[in-house]
């Protein structure tokens, strides 16, 4: 089976299990009085790894599934997750950030966008009850908890998706530059003994 078929299958399974595990287990565990929300982190990770279009489609599908199984207003979560997936994907396509802490920052921003975006949409749809200022504090704590979980979630998603991802030419070029043109697998033994970093231009 080719990677072009394997990737969508893995994404469908990942989205399904992420939603089920989130709603069945993670959301029932209270941390600092709130529940972590892993789904925007998974969408963000897919955007960062697969690009904007895949990120947006994955975000839409995941959001729609959440709205369906939780009997919420259809379209609200999918609308927010499209933006998260697309935005993370664009970051990958335009900047291709390679720093290890990028998922942490992007995860925090994704969680903040999901929390604040949901609040804005709910206000637009109409709220029949008084709104406490503690809402902002709760959103902040959720963002904090999600930020702490962003790196492990990203690492797990990368482990699942990376083997079937098409080779990115920019990544290949970068690897050629840092390793002297050879794959690290090919020159592993040589690197351990006499590795010399190329001089900066």
């Amino acid at each position: 089976m080719s990677n072009a078929v394997k990737l969508p299958i893995r994404l469908i399974l990942l989205g399904f299990f992420a939603v089920v595990i989130q709603e069945s287990a993670v959301s029932q565990v209270s941390i600092f009085g709130v529940s972590a929300d892993l789904t925007p982190l998974v969408v963000m990770s897919i955007g960062l790894l697969c690009g904007s279009l895949t990120g947006a489609v994955f975000g839409f599908a995941t959001g729609l599934m959440i709205d369906l199984i939780l009997v919420q207003t259809l379209g609200v979560t999918s609308l927010l997750y499209i933006v998260i997936g697309y935005w993370a994907g664009r970051l990958h396509e335009l900047r291709d950030p390679s720093h290890e802490l990028v998922p942490l920052v992007v995860g925090a921003m994704a969680a903040a966008f999901a929390g604040l975006g949901m609040a804005v949409i709910q206000f637009l749809l109409g709220v029949d009850a008084p709104v406490s200022l503690l809402l902002l504090q709760q959103i902040f704590v959720v963002v904090l908890v999600d930020t702490l979980l962003a790196l492990p979630v990203y690492a797990l998603v990368r482990r699942i998706v990376r083997p079937v991802l098409p080779e990115d030419p920019r990544r290949r070029r970068r690897r050629a530059y840092t390793t002297g043109g050879l794959s690290p697998l090919q020159q592993g033994a040589a690197r351990r003994t006499t590795f010399t970093r190329p001089k900066p231009l």
Binding site: A25, S35, L133
Partner: protein, 288 residues
């Protein structure tokens, strides 16, 4: 492609928002719930140990802070129990003598115990899903209790699962009564964003000189339960909901509102009881 996805989301949102509960989109949603509920129940059982371990840590940290508070509560409740026992006996006698309508009595409901299988993590939709549905006699708008207090109301039901909207959801309001000298009654709504607080509004403000007869901190708030011709409250009377928080006199006198702390721990409730009402024709006759 992106524009198409956004457009589909907006169309779904607009269509769903304006639809009635029996509309096609709602039916699709119910169908998905019906199909996925066995998977959710299975996942909930498989992941129960993970929840238990995490819950154990959370409960242990929380328990120490609760000990003193609970000791005071036990002392107060013991006193109130003795008074309530006497009042109950008197109430039974008077009800029998006056032939009052007993259909809203809590005893006329059949409790069905259900396990929580899903929980909505967002701050806006305070809903849970439980593993009992119409096959077990659960009906729409049945009241749900947990930790000995009102938790919410069944708002979606399928054959094997139900969705319960919690009292902290902004779409739910309950007619509630404070067990004070006046028996003040109002509408209980959530304070959105604060799951530990509810707002009892539309109370009759007490006269400025008789504030002590009005709601006081710690007093119990229960469901009011009313029946007026064809109109009937979904909730039977006297289900505990919570306790009055410190009363702001200005707020009470000017706006007729007080704050209430829910008695049930809505973030960690795992097992609930759905109070199902016997269907007409299913009651058994009983010879006195």
């Amino acid at each position: 492609m992106l524009a198409l996805l956004v457009a589909v989301s907006l169309i779904l949102l607009t269509a769903y928002f304006g639809e009635t509960p029996s509309s096609p989109l709602h039916n699709v949603q119910r169908g998905v719930v019906e199909v996925l509920s066995p998977v959710e129940q299975g996942a909930s059982k498989v992941l129960a140990p993970v929840r238990s371990v995490a819950g154990w840590f959370s409960s242990t940290f929380h328990a120490k802070t609760q000990v003193k508070q609970l000791q005071q509560q036990v002392a107060r409740l013991t006193n109130e129990y003795a008074q309530a026992k006497g009042a109950l006996l008197q109430n039974r006698q008077l009800t029998a003598e006056l032939h009052l309508d007993d259909s809203l009595n809590l005893n006329s409901y059949r409790p069905v115990t259900a396990q929580v299988i899903l929980r909505d993590p967002t701050l806006w939709y305070q809903t849970i899903s439980v593993d009992k549905g119409t096959d077990d006699g659960v009906g729409l708008h049945d009241p749900v209790i947990g930790d000995g207090a009102l938790v919410g109301e069944v708002t979606e039901v399928s054959a094997t699962a139900s969705f319960v909207t919690l009292i902290t959801d902004h779409t739910l309001s309950v007619t509630a009564r404070v067990l004070d000298a006046n028996g003040d009654t109002g509408e209980l709504v959530p304070a959105v964003g604060n799951p530990d607080e509810l707002v009892l509004q539309y109370l009759q403000p007490p006269n400025p000189g008789q504030v002590q007869n009005g709601p006081q901190q710690g007093q119990l708030v229960v469901t009011a339960g009313f029946k007026s011709g064809p109109l009937e409250s979904y909730f039977p009377a006297n289900i505990p909901i919570g306790n009055v928080l410190p009363v702001d006199e200005n707020q009470l006198l000017n706006n007729g509102t007080i704050q209430v702390a829910p008695q049930a721990n809505l973030r960690s409730v795992d097992v609930v009881q759905i109070l199902t009402k016997p269907q007409p024709g299913t009651e058994r006759a009983q010879v006195p």
